[in-house]
Subunit: 354 residues, 4 copies
């Protein structure tokens, strides 16, 4: 089968690989649609290390080709998705609700980021076939009424963006800011709307993303190239600050701005993948006495999460279709990476079809 | 192997049965210590229906005899416990944290009480051997420093009683009442203490249980045969009522008394197994406007829960040893049932050793 | 001044009363718009007892006429609302977040329903003037951009209905049913939508209310005169049941139906004012072992709650304007009661203007 | 009256001041016992700026001398305490539960640290008399059975230390570390015990504090002068790390160590008052993907909090008596500061009696 493989920093190439063997608890999925994530670009650039020869990608939509002999409750031929994060279900981490930090059979059951396996510690979804471990915890049947593209954001960015809103514990009437309106930030904006925030401020400068932010629920978009976003947010909130600030970029500057606009008692909900140590400014942190919270979230996974997210789509609460700005065949995936990594042509997400 | 089997209402008898076959995800445990639960008495009396021929019991301590071929992270010969409730880990119920209502491979993944399998829907622990399904989610190694008897309460009554305190969301400084000080109620008393309640009122009339209630953390025990407990509780709390009322018996009268002593905004945390419809008195419920909560809990299970409960024992926070008032060999289990069902001889819990 | 006064069961009449004296912590409000609540009808009928001579009504919009000498942070002439529930702020109940159960200066600070003062224990809002106690905790300035009618639902039904969704702890992707689509039920439907429920089922039979339920966010309306709502809900949810069932009527039948459609682990969020003891059916309660919750809520009040609810209106998330089906002057309030109590002419809410 | 007044950095001196005037909502308290806090030393050194001439101190025990004319529910002559943090009750901050960040009559009602008034923005408790604003929200009667010294820790360090445990959301069976065992850290240790942590690790090096840590509930004390505490904690927890790490010192090194010993999904609960920007190490923060939380807490106040803390003392759960290592008259307070600021003679807390 064909698979997009990490060869060395700077090179992800399409290669021929053997079709995976199906273990007792696994399912083999024939991929019908997948996509590229910002994290994949970090892998491409060598900023996030993975094993050479690994198939990348963690956002699968496909058809069950073969079920392991212990897998019950599914049928071959069913259309399914699996989350970017594949919890085992049985680890201590899972049993206490930390599905993304799943240490599987490790003695204490916890491992940082351990639930993220596809395209990280095992072969991923940018291929003709994907092997899904712990299939009974992870395969989520796609309702007939929904297309592949409609559910393509569920495995990662929708789950991640919504988690930003959920971990922030947004309440009805909250003022929320979302720093950066890339795919994750846009989903966080949509998630904030879905949880009842009523003053949603998006910070962005790319015109297409500003437009998209409004479409996904921002009441106000601040173009940080035209004004100081911290000043502007404090002005808009009459000096009160926001209840929840969502960081969706992964930089010191946005992390810090989140703290500066937070009301005492407010929550910084962080989604970004950082690449260096972070600094907490003393004043913005009220010397540690502001009753503030900083929470981080890794994309929730598992079949129940996927079911719920598909329900959001099916209920027509939000249409993430417009996020898909480009479409490529799997054989053109190297071109797709080139486009996506350089953020050319207004790209948000690319549908890849084997 | 020998096993205590439900034959018909009124008869649980020791029979010879074949040793179970070990499936891929199972573990076979050689039982070293087990016990009888109040629920088993309901089964004995035919009040709670189970299949004829089923081995009863759901509180296992034992040694791993054989591991299924897919089970990793354990070794044969290890001493382990498993909870009365055996979550699969992979069901939708589990993935949203409802381990006790586990529908396993059912389409929607939920089933009332579905996590309770031992001695209910599959063979139980009152036998020489026990087959534990979904072993990787359920086997919890026992620390060497702890004896079988020390951890014997973890699988059920300790987990259940503590859940009463946890679901009640007890806060530091709370006034809590626990109605009835049988094994579950005593564990709820201990759990309330462990969560920071500072006025813990136990209601009981049996002298041994009154004594035990004090030992497990009650600040005050009200003997309901000597005064009206509702009046007394209101007096003791200066008319304020309690923050949390825990029902640990399963009767209308105690359920109702819980509501009557609850402060506005308070929580009734219910542990009892009821056998008839319940009535909520209008006045005690403030016509539905008192910001009250009624929460029910089924014994939390799974290996992480067991690990934590054994940690409580190992830390010497509480010693549940005194709950074991009697000891019988498995071959005498019919006598043990006779004693326990009739609550003779001050019995609280009986250790059964095959 | 003119005021609608409870004279005896069956009679609320417009009378002349002296304008209230303004105490140090009070504010006198000149009412510009108010409305009649279902609770007022209970008072009219003598089902909920209040003192003879009391001015009824608890949903005020008005202008600050005079501030008590200790009241800071406001100006005379400001347009404000106050919640139906007027917390003192200083009671023990308030300090632990139980604003609606405010015992004010009572020794232990708690009193069932004690936060509800207007038209219950002190004179209410169906009058030319209203005295607001603990003004600094209760007066919420109305943004200029919002009309009286736009904020008229904030003091009670919007706060109550939303509380049904909030107390139910609705999560993204939840299936929620709301039994009865009167004014409170419609607001609960809107609140469920605002919290991220994606399968919202309303149960109602009056055509205008069915139509309104769809407008406020129901995905599906079940006409209980045409089918059994319990069966229908179980069918629609594929046998899973709902995550949260909201009772918005106050009857045994709807309370019971809520339990019957609840998934194991689900929450019954009760808003209705009951008039007799309630029965919990054993089977629907899973004998107390279903990990279920029953929560009740009394309308949250206080200026911060009001600010947030007005924010919901200002953000155009929901337009409660269509709920106002009729308008009367204060001098015609007896006619308004006659219409409202008999639910004639498709009435939902009536704006009353002195 | 005599009062300890901040004159300039390095000088707090006892001066004669007029007895305060009592406003309508105030109460005048004749101080019978008070104490010095670490924060007072920051003030003394000029590290935390207050107005010259301000009376310092925020931990009052005393007798009601005079009540403002609007204050109900109390009597002159009653013995009371008030928290270090004095919420108004009526602010938006209070109404949403953020009592410590109380902006009082400010337009938006929020102010960082705004609830801390005594010895910060208004005259404090190291004096013969103290004026308590918003008395009805703040005066908490002391039960007759408790001495002044027994309740002396309630206003600040007990409330703060417990908040560290509470905000960390400790669960039964948690492993918790508390960095530094000064008065606040010791109370955090006690609080962790009270919430059900079963592996409580204290980090300290002063022998008296090590001894005290064991007394207040630590299962294990690590002397950081003898080993690397991070390594040791990871070893003790078998590589799992702690569920909750409490920072009780206010330094980069302890803040950072907390992150390094935290399990994925764990919480850093920060109590320290920092004096410079903080750095979050990338690896310890799992690049923002570890589902971790950092929460800060300012001492909860208000009469209900005080009632609950005194209940903890009355129930004999913990005896904070041993924390009082020294006693001085008010006239010797300058000597007391000298001793306390230099941490001489094994000092923990000093009782000051006017």
């Amino acid at each position: 089968m064909k698979a997009a493989v990490f060869v060395e920093p700077g090179r992800i190439v399409l290669e021929e690989k053997p079709k995976p063997e199906v273990g007792a608890g696994d399912a083999l999925i024939r991929i019908t649609t997948t996509t590229i994530c910002g994290t994949d670009v970090h892998i491409l650039k060598g900023e996030y290390p993975v094993a050479k020869g690994l198939t990348v990608g963690h956002e699968p939509v496909g058809i069950i080709e073969k079920l392991g002999r212990n897998v019950q409750g599914y049928e071959e031929g069913q259309r399914v998705i699996a989350g970017a994060i594949c919890p085992s279900g049985y680890s201590s981490a899972c049993l206490e609700g930390l599905h993304s930090q799943d240490g599987q059979s490790a003695a204490h059951g916890l491992k940082p980021l351990g639930g993220w396996r596809f395209g990280n510690t095992i072969d991923g979804s940018q291929a003709e076939y994907l092997l899904v471990p712990d299939a009974m915890a992870n395969l989520a049947p796609v309702p007939d009424a929904l297309t592949d593209e409609q559910v393509l954001m569920c495995p990662d960015i929708m789950s991640t963006g919504f988690a930003g809103a959920e971990s922030g514990n947004i309440k009805i009437g909250d003022a929320v800011v979302v720093f950066a309106q890339g795919p994750i930030g846009l989903c966080a904006t949509a998630g904030a709307r879905l949880r009842g925030a009523t003053t949603i401020i998006a910070v962005e400068t790319v015109p297409e993303r500003i437009e998209m932010a409004r479409r996904f629920g921002a009441d106000l978009v601040i173009d940080f190239s035209k004004c100081d976003p911290v000043d502007e947010i404090m002005k808009v909130t009459n000096g009160r600050g926001v209840d929840v600030a969502i960081e969706a970029l992964g930089l010191q500057s946005t992390f810090e701005s989140c703290l500066r606009v937070l009301k005492p008692g407010g929550t910084l909900s962080s989604l970004g993948v950082y690449s260096e140590d972070l600094t907490i400014p003393l004043a913005a942190f009220h010397a540690g006495l502001g009753d503030n919270r900083i929470v981080t979230s890794l994309c929730p996974g598992g079949k129940e999460r996927m079911r719920r997210l598909m329900n959001v789509i099916a209920s027509e609460r939000i249409d993430f279709g417009p996020l898909i700005t480009h479409r490529f065949g799997l054989e053109q995936i190297e071109d797709a990476y080139e486009l996506f990594a350089n953020q050319r042509d207004g790209v948000l997400k690319i549908a890849i079809t084997p």
